[in-house]
Amino acid sequence: MQHLPSRRPPTLRVFRYRDGATSLQNVVGDGDLPLPEADLLKWARDALDQQTFVAQTVPFEGTTHSNELCFIPRDDHCDILSIHADSRRRHHGDHRRSLLEILNDLAAAVACGRLRFLDPDELAQELALGEAVLECPLTDSATVATARTDVTDALEHLGFSRERREETVLCLSEASTNAVMHGGGRGTLRLMRLDGRARMVVADRGPGLGFMNWFEAPGGSQASMGYGYHIILEHIDDVALSTGPGGTTLILDQHPRRPEVTPSC
């Protein structure tokens, strides 16, 4: 028996199946599973066994609601991205991309290894790495501007070309603005050096990311966040994200030179 979703706005959920496990791990979001766990486990095992990307649309009969699911095999685990969508609401104005496109963008980034969703243990491991270069508070737009200037200088010392600095600092600005706008007003940025890369860690203690704001077109109802994460996924080599009711941490790893794009991506 499927339960009709409550009238919450569409949200992204991420689950993880580890090879051999009998239950799923909740990585992003909370509340009930979008479907019976047995179905999700079966699809996740199939995706992992065959090392194939699996997409499922599961409609709620007699309604306009559906679950859009992507199963993405990665080494010893399978990440499951789920968006609970009401097809009547799938398009928010002419310029807003559909939820399905958002899901596919995120799934493609996970499949290419450019986006990782971190559970709390993985986040703790990642945060222990690297050598600190600088730290900036993020409390308002002035501190974001200061962070841009300081990081630009630091990236130059780390051997980033001008073009590479510009696109990296643009992404940093997007992440930092999001932390200021939606992150409870007290964020931090830390720049680390890690294996020849720059690692930028933008953390806040806000209520967790509202994923559906991520891809809003510029000039939409909320001018603040137009397409910010689209820019980040486009330009940053490796993005890792942990988000929940205790806050959001975004880790942006960038090489001084743009890596060769692998053919599968």
Binding site: A145, V169, L170, P218, A223, S224, M225, I231
Partner: protein, 103 residues
């Protein structure tokens, strides 16, 4: 930080300089208001803009669309590469119309 200087040439021209981010919303709107009633075209000159992100872009797009509704034509000129790349990525030309960017 962004600064805006209004010059009354053949049309009112707003010369922007500095960084266009979340902070520029009030400055842009106040400067446009100074143009006053009666103008049917306003030109934004981007030559000295050194940075723009999606927030700055969103504010520019919103301003364009609002002025279009009010019957005022907004024209953007002297777009430097650092701005053009972001506008391109965010499909600004399709959002506000190519006529905003006369070649």
């Amino acid at each position: 930080m962004l600064t805006a200087r209004l010059e009354h040439e053949q049309e009112p021209v707003i010369y922007l300089a500095g960084e266009m981010d979340l902070d520029c919303v009030d400055l842009l709107r106040e400067t446009v208001e100074k143009v006053g009633e009666g103008a049917d075209m306003i030109i934004l000159d981007f030559a000295d803009v050194t940075f723009i992100d999606s927030s700055g872009t969103g504010i520019f797009v919103r301003l364009c669309l609002d002025l279009q509704v009010a019957g005022v034509k907004l024209r953007a000129r002297s777009i430097p590469p650092v701005v053009a790349q972001v506008f391109d990525m965010l499909k600004v030309y399709a959002l506000v119309g190519d006529e905003v960017f006369p070649s």
